[in-house]
Every structure is written in structure tokens, then in C-alpha cells.
């Protein structure tokens, strides 16, 4: 649906030039829920504004359904945006806002009225049709903004951190709502967020961005389980990074020796690795802890701190190598607190839980 080819965006000129985006290449498929995820200032909003047409690329091109739209103004693109602050027209009613795009497209009055009603039903706002936008709550404004952007039936809907202004409960509701809207309308959604959980729960695919570059594109599971590099691993989920030495690479297996002791044979997910020092990612929830057996291959540590979270407990350990390590164990009622700070424990894990990073 959208092909972004080698796009670079530079703001300003000369000494003050700032490169907001660097060599961005993305293909977004039809009817996909695609998320741009990254910390603030990573360029995700700039990329969204480029797709909307508010900015034009410095180099590179953008195709929508095979047609080059790089230089088209926003009002000529079949793309609509849900703005971060909603940007509802304060001098119009809810219905007036939703009708705006359709009126601009010159649709007949009867069709406009009919579509507005359908949109109001879609976002469940029928009763508030004739309210002023200043008289409705933030969550309702959010729905109106969605209905307004969906009403002209764009090919692509852009969402610029639309949930960031809502409280937690409403945000969860809207996440489900957005997924429902996307599957009901069949429109391609491009969603910008800095909230990793939001990205993981809603997206078909995620592009993780930092400093104007895309670090990795993949499904939520790919990104979480097999991050390309330390930035992606760190940005999404909690991570333990350990130093280790890689050797004996054979086909898709290799031998890994942790700085903290223990040697394991691990499956390799990537071909671009060679013998030597590497960084290793282990997710805190992929391990468990047990009494040390005295085996020299064991990864052992001392509990420094225990934090209780209700559903689970975080054990902060210091490994024999001095590296910090966190294990997250689910709580269950049969297992009362049997460990305390200062206990020496062994870290148990499956070889599949170990991800070798390229850095």
C-alpha cells in the first residue's frame, strides 16, 4: 500500500541542518496495523507527517498504491490523520466535525448525513451528535477525531500518539476499540507511539526507530524475542545484558561461555556472527531461580533485592561476575516467600532464551 523508498529528511540548512530521518525504507501492506515505535525525537512523527503530506522528503520517494505521492499536498492525498491533541474544530458540533472531510470532497448532502450517522454508530457516539466538541470528555473527543478521520474512507489512517492523553483505563479500552475499527473498516493504520506495550498489543508489524533510523521491522513477537540489537532489546521489554564469549560456530549452533561462568550450546538465529566477545540478551521472565547445586557450569548469584508486584516478583541478583541480573517470577499461592535478600541462588534457563546480539 505504502512504499517508502530511501527517504531522508533534513530540516534547516547549513550549520543548523538537522537530519530527522535517514534512509528510511518501509513497505506497509494493505489492511495492516503498522506501528512506528521509538523514543521521543526519534523521527517517528516526522515520518508520519511525511506520509500525511505536511512535510516533503529531502530525498527519496513515497508511493501510495503504486502512485508517487511524495510531492502531493495533504488535501490531495487519500490519507487522513488522527492528531495527538485531536485538533477538533471548536466552532463546529460533533457531527459538523465528522462531516467536514466529506463536504470538502463535495459529496452530496444525503450521503454526508448518512455517512456521519454511520461513523457515529461506529464509534458509539450517536447521542452526542449535536454537542459542541468543547462539551465532551477527552475519550469522547478521541472517538470524534477517529470518526472524522475515517469518514472520508481514506486508504491510510495515520494516528499520532492518539492515546497518550487518556488515562490508563480509557487507553486500554481505546486500544481494543482501535483494533476493532481497523478490522471493521479494512483501512491500513499507521500508528505512532512511544509506548512499547501499546505497540506490542495492537500491531501487525512494528518498526522500531531511533535517531532518525529504523532499527528493526517485524511482528511484535519477532521484535520481542529476536531483537536485532541492543537498542531494540532495551527499548522493548525488560532485558538482562550479559557479556559472553562465542566460539565453535557450527551450522546453526554455537558454544557460549558466560563471563559469569557456565558454558552452553545455543541455537543461532542469525548468520552474521563470528567467534569472539558478544552481548547476550536474556529476558527476566524466561528464567527461574533455584537452590545452587554446586555444579561449576551453573550461573549463580546473590539476591540483592526482592520487589513484589502482585502478579509477579522481581529478584535483583548480582552474578558471580559482578553483572546485575533480574529474574521475574510469577507468584503463586502455594509458594510463599521462601527466599530473602542475601540468599545464594542458581539461575536456570532454556538455551532458547538466550539471544545473541550484534550490537
Amino acid at each position: 500500500m505504502i512504499e517508502i523508498r530511501n527517504i531522508t529528511k533534513v530540516f534547516g540548512a547549513g550549520e543548523h541542518a538537522v537530519t530527522a530521518l535517514q534512509e528510511i525504507n518501509v513497505n506497509i501492506a494493505e489492511n495492516e496495523f503498522f506501528t512506528l515505535l521509538g523514543p521521543s525525537g526519534c523521527g517517528k512523527t516526522t515520518l508520519l507527517r511525511l506520509i500525511a503530506g505536511f512535510e516533503h522528503p529531502s530525498t527519496g520517494s513515497m508511493l501510495l498504491a503504486g502512485e508517487d505521492i511524495s510531492l502531493l499536498p495533504p488535501n490531495k492525498r487519500p490519507v487522513n490523520t488522527v492528531f495527538q491533541n485531536y485538533a477538533l474544530f471548536p466552532h463546529m458540533t460533533v457531527a459538523g466535525n465528522i462531516a467536514f472531510g466529506l463536504e470538502m470532497l463535495g459529496r452530496p448532502k444525503a450521503e454526508v448525513a448518512e455517512t456521519v450517522d454511520r461513523m457515529l454508530r461506529l464509534v458509539r457516539m450517536e447521542e452526542l451528535k449535536n454537542r459542541q466538541t468543547s462539551e465532551i470528555s477527552g475519550g469522547q473527543q478521541q472517538r470524534v477525531a477517529l470518526a472524522r478521520a475515517l469518514a472520508p474512507q481514506p486508504k491510510v489512517l495515520l494516528l499520532d500518539e492518539p492515546l497518550s492523553a487518556l488515562d490508563l483505563k480509557l487507553r486500554k479500552e481505546m486500544q481494543i476499540e482501535l483494533k476493532r475499527l481497523q478490522s471493521e473498516t479494512g483501512i491500513t493504520f499507521v500508528f505512532v507511539t512511544h509506548d512499547q506495550e501499546e505497540a506490542l498489543t495492537m500491531s501487525d508489524r512494528i518498526a522500531v526507530m531511533n535517531a532518525g533510523r529504523i532499527h528493526q521491522i517485524g511482528s511484535p513477537r519477532q521484535i520481542y524475542d529476536h531483537p536485532e540489537n541492543r537498542f531494540v532489546a532495551n527499548f522493548i521489554g525488560d532485558s538482562n545484558f550479559l557479556n559472553a564469549k562465542l566460539g565453535n560456530i557450527k551450522d546453526d549452533q554455537a558454544e557460549l561461555e558466560f563471563a559469569a561462568g557456565r558454558k552452553v550450546t545455543v541455537p543461532l538465529h542469525r548468520a552474521d556472527l563470528s567467534d569472539g566477545e558478544v552481548s547476550v540478551l536474556i529476558r527476566p521472565e524466561h528464567v527461574s531461580i533455584a537452590e545452587p547445586t554446586g555444579n561449576s557450569h551453573e550461573l549463580t548469584g546473590v539476591i540483592e533485592n526482592i520487589v513484589y508486584f502482585g502478579t509477579d516478583t522481581h529478584y535483583h541478583l548480582k552474578l558471580a561476575s559482578g553483572e546485575a541480573f533480574m529474574a521475574r517470577l510469577q507468584n503463586n499461592p502455594s509458594e510463599a516467600e521462601k527466599r530473602a535478600a542475601g540468599d545464594k541462588v542458581a539461575v536456570l534457563m532454556d538455551a532458547k532464551a538466550i539471544q545473541i546480539l550484534r550490537d
Partner: protein
């Protein structure tokens, strides 16, 4: 366990509360006394004097005789023919009313045409240059009105800058007569009152959230439609305020029409001045002043009604 209220205590409580309320009322009057004094002394008082004077008889050398008469009020709209004593419309007054109204409306429209783009231009500059532009707009305010009006005269008189330039460029052979015409008055008033339009419009444009314009642009509106459907309705309050600020003083303008219009193109302000000066007819001057006030009020009520009525259609 219920507590039986002692009737004596209840009475006492009521009394205490009544006292407190009385003290409250007294306090409120005391606190508003300065404002009330100023309003009485400087607004209501003089107005009352004007109203009383309008029902008196003119004195021989100005001033008034304390004899009740409604002549002044009838003279506002009709006049008695000195030969056959019949009543006729006071054509002179009516044409001056009309000219004042016409020129004030034209001035308001012209200040809007020049002022709104100016305000938009200033509001869209960077914060630092914005202040510079605002400063430039307000500079004329610090100059005496008469001096500014004479400056306009320098521009438009027969031997003035405009005529000289046009002649040098051989666009015209004989100078255009601009002084002492309605054009001169309109031109002068537009120049004098322009800041009164620019400032309130600027204030409302500056408050405008330009992301709304982006939203309109995103929803297939052209730039012009964005202006008409989004910017214009949202800066309307500023435009209404600016129009009132320009229209009201224009209607009673005195210095500018006097200097640029000469003796023959009178406006309302000049007519009133004439009665208190050479005319020595203070009651008529007073009646004309009150007529002007009523005219302004009617115009404002009408104006706010049509402009707020337009609001509803927008929804």
C-alpha cells in the same frame, strides 16, 4: 439521642446570622464605593447634565436658559421654515447623519481589509519579530492625532506627495483633488483607526491553534477553504471587537473630518461641536450628542445580533 434545641438559643442564632448578613451588605457597599463614585462623577453625572440641557432653551451667548423646551429635540430631525413657519425635514442634519454612518461603515470595512491580513502576517512571525511589528503598529498611537492627520494631509493635498509622484511619473497631468472630499475623510480615518482593528484581530489569531488548520488541510480543504471555514470563524470574535473599536469612534470622529474634510464635509462630531461653538445652541448640541449615543447603541445591538446569528449557521 436527640438534642432538643433551646428556643432561646435558636432565636439568638438567627439574630447573629441576621447581623452578620447586615454587616456583609454594608461591607459590600463600602467596598464598591470608589467604583460607584467614579461612575457617578464621570459617567452618569455628565450624561445627566447633557440630558437635562437638551430640554432647555439656548442662551444668547451660549450656555442655557432654565426654561423647559423640546425645541432642541424636534430640531434634530425637523426644522421650522423661517418664512412660512412650516415644518420641514432637517435635510442638513439627516445628510450629516447619513454621511457619518456611511463613512464609518466604509472606514470599518477598509480597516478590516487592510488590518486582518496585517494582523495575520504579524501573528505568524516568530515571537521576537512579532513584538517588533506590534511596536511599529502602535507607534502612531503615541503621536498626537492632529499631527497624524496633518501628515495624511501632506500625502493627499494638491501639492502633496501622491500627486507629485503621479505627476513625475506622467500618469496624470493635473493634480487630483483629494483634500476636502469624503475620500479624504475615509482615507484619514482608515489610517488613524487601523491599529484598533489590527490589535484585537492579532490577539485572536495569535491564540489560534494552527494544528486546526493542518487538520482542515488533511481533510481535503484547500488553503482558501481552510481560511474561510476554520480561521475566519475562529478569529471572528477579534474581528467583531476590532470593528466595534473602529466603528464607534469613527461615528463621532471630529479632528480628522475637520482637517481633511474642510468646512463643508461635516460629520456628526463636527455638527455637535458647531452647536456648542459658533451655533450657540447648547440644547441642540446636547440632543445631537444623545442621538449619536442612541445611534451607536442601536448599531452595536444590530451588529452583535447579526454576527452571533452567523455563528449558529456555522455548526
Amino acid at each position: 439521642m436527640t438534642v432538643q434545641a433551646d428556643p432561646v438559643t435558636v432565636d439568638k442564632a438567627v439574630e447573629i446570622e441576621r447581623d452578620a448578613r447586615r454587616r456583609d451588605v454594608r461591607m459590600r457597599w463600602l467596598l464598591s464605593a470608589p467604583a460607584l463614585t467614579i461612575i457617578t462623577l464621570f459617567a452618569a453625572g455628565p450624561l445627566l447634565i447633557v440630558l437635562v440641557y437638551s430640554f432647555l432653551t439656548p442662551g444668547n451667548y451660549g450656555n442655557v436658559k432654565w426654561i423647559f423646551s423640546i425645541d432642541a429635540w424636534t430640531n434634530v430631525v425637523v426644522q421650522r421654515d423661517i418664512f412660512d413657519n412650516t415644518l420641514q425635514w432637517a435635510d442638513a442634519h439627516l445628510s450629516i447623519f447619513w454621511r457619518s454612518l456611511k463613512l464609518s461603515i466604509v472606514t470599518t470595512i477598509l480597516t478590516a481589509i487592510f488590518g486582518i491580513p496585517t494582523a495575520y502576517f504579524i501573528a505568524t512571525r516568530s515571537a521576537k519579530t512579532r513584538n517588533l511589528w506590534l511596536f511599529l503598529i502602535t507607534i502612531p498611537f503615541w503621536t498626537n492625532l492632529l499631527v497624524r492627520t496633518i501628515a495624511v494631509q501632506e500625502l493627499i493635498r494638491t501639492e502633496g506627495v501622491i500627486n507629485n509622484v503621479l505627476r513625475m511619473l506622467h500618469i496624470i497631468d493635473t493634480p487630483i483633488q483629494m483634500m476636502f472630499t469624503d475620500f479624504a475623510i475615509g482615507f484619514g480615518m482608515t489610517y488613524v483607526y487601523l491599529p484598533l482593528m489590527v490589535l484585537p484581530v492579532y490577539a485572536s489569531i495569535e491564540k489560534l491553534d494552527f494544528r486546526l488548520v493542518e487538520a482542515g488541510y488533511d481533510l481535503y480543504a484547500s488553503r482558501w477553504t481552510c481560511f474561510r471555514r476554520i480561521i475566519l470563524p475562529l478569529v471572528k470574535p477579534g474581528m467583531i471587537a476590532g470593528s466595534i473599536l473602529v466603528f464607534v469612534p469613527s461615528l463621532g470622529a471630529y479632528v480628522t473630518p475637520r482637517v481633511l474634510g474642510g468646512g463643508k464635509n461635516l460629520m456628526f462630531g463636527n455638527l455637535i461641536e458647531l452647536q456648542f461653538g459658533q451655533g450657540r445652541n447648547w440644547p441642540l448640541g446636547a440632543a445631537l450628542s444623545i442621538s449619536l449615543m442612541v445611534l451607536v447603541m442601536v448599531a452595536l445591538i444590530y451588529y452583535t445580533r447579526i454576527s452571533s446569528g452567523g455563528d449558529k449557521q456555522n455548526g
